[in-house]
C-alpha cells in the first residue's frame, strides 16, 4: 500500500500528518507483533561493561558472543536480579 492509497482510504489530505500517524501506527504494531527484527554486531571491548543500544530499539531479543575458536556466535544468559556489586 502506498501513502496516497492510505490517504484516500482515510480521507486525510495532509501528507506530513499522515506520515506522523503512520510512524505511530508502525510503532504500535511493532509492540504487538515483534515484526521488525534487526541484528547488528559490535566490538566486545576489553574491560568495558556498558554498550549503548540503538535509539530505535523496542526490545532486546537476544545477545550472542562470538566464540573465537569456532567463529560462531553463541547466546548468553540474561541476568534477572540486576542488583550487582559495582566499583
Amino acid at each position: 500500500m502506498t501513502v496516497k492509497e492510505l490517504m484516500e482510504l482515510t480521507g486525510e489530505t495532509r501528507f506530513n500528518l499522515v506520515k506522523i500517524l503512520l510512524r505511530d501506527a508502525l510503532t504500535e504494531m511493532q509492540l504487538l507483533t515483534n515484526e521488525n527484527v534487526l541484528q547488528y554486531t559490535t566490538d566486545l571491548v576489553n574491560n568495558q561493561k556498558g554498550y549503548d543500544l540503538p535509539s530505535n530499539l523496542i526490545q532486546v531479543r537476544s545477545i550472542k558472543v562470538k566464540n573465537q575458536d569456532t567463529e560462531y556466535y553463541s547466546p548468553i544468559n540474561r541476568l534477572v536480579d540486576t542488583d550487582i556489586k559495582e566499583k
Binding site: T2, K19, V37, K49, S55, L57, V60
Partner: protein, 143 residues
C-alpha cells in the same frame, strides 16, 4: 591457557536503561579477596580495535545484538512511496489512522471503535503468522 568455558558459562548480560551491560564470570584463580564480586567486565581480546573503540583492545565484532525496532520511515518521502509493512496489516493501518483522526475532533466513541478494530486485526495477524496446532509439548520433568 585458553579459556575452555562456553560463552554461556563465561558471559551474562542485562539491560540498564538504554545500555547493555555485559559481565564475565571470573575463573577460580581470579577471585582474589572474598569481598570482590565473582564477575568482572569482559576481559581478553587480542584485536586492536578501530572506529569508535580506537586505541582499545578486545574482540572485533565480538557481540551480536538482536532486537525489535521501530520500522524506518526515512525512505517514505512522497505520497507514491510504499509503506514498509506486510500487506495483511494494511487494513489495521487504515483503522489506526482513522482512529487518530477522529480523536483530534474529540469523537471518542468512534476512536474506541477504530482502535479496537486495529488491535483485533493486529492480534489476528500475529496469531495467524505461524500455522499448525497450538499445543505445549511437555518435557520429561513436567507432570
Amino acid at each position: 591457557m585458553a579459556d575452555s568455558r562456553s560463552m554461556k558459562e563465561r558471559y551474562f548480560y542485562f539491560v540498564r536503561g538504554r545500555q547493555l551491560v555485559i559481565l564475565e564470570h571470573k575463573t577460580a584463580k581470579d577471585y582474589g579477596d572474598t569481598n570482590s564480586p565473582t564477575y568482572q567486565p569482559p576481559t581478553g581480546g587480542t584485536n586492536t580495535l578501530d572506529g569508535v573503540n580506537a586505541g582499545e583492545t578486545g574482540w572485533t565484532e565480538g557481540l551480536l545484538i538482536e532486537y525489535t525496532a521501530i520500522p524506518d520511515l526515512s525512505e517514505v518521502l512522497s505520497e507514491s512511496d510504499d509503506i514498509p509493512i506486510a500487506d495483511a496489516l494494511n487494513t489495521a493501518m487504515v483503522d489506526y489512522v482513522k482512529g487518530r483522526l477522529v480523536e483530534d475532533i474529540q469523537d471518542f466513541r468512534k476512536k474506541e471503535y477504530y482502535m479496537a478494530k486495529f488491535k483485533e486485526r493486529v492480534a489476528k495477524y500475529a496469531r495467524m503468522k505461524t500455522g499448525g496446532s497450538r499445543v505445549v509439548q511437555g518435557t520429561g520433568f513436567m507432570r
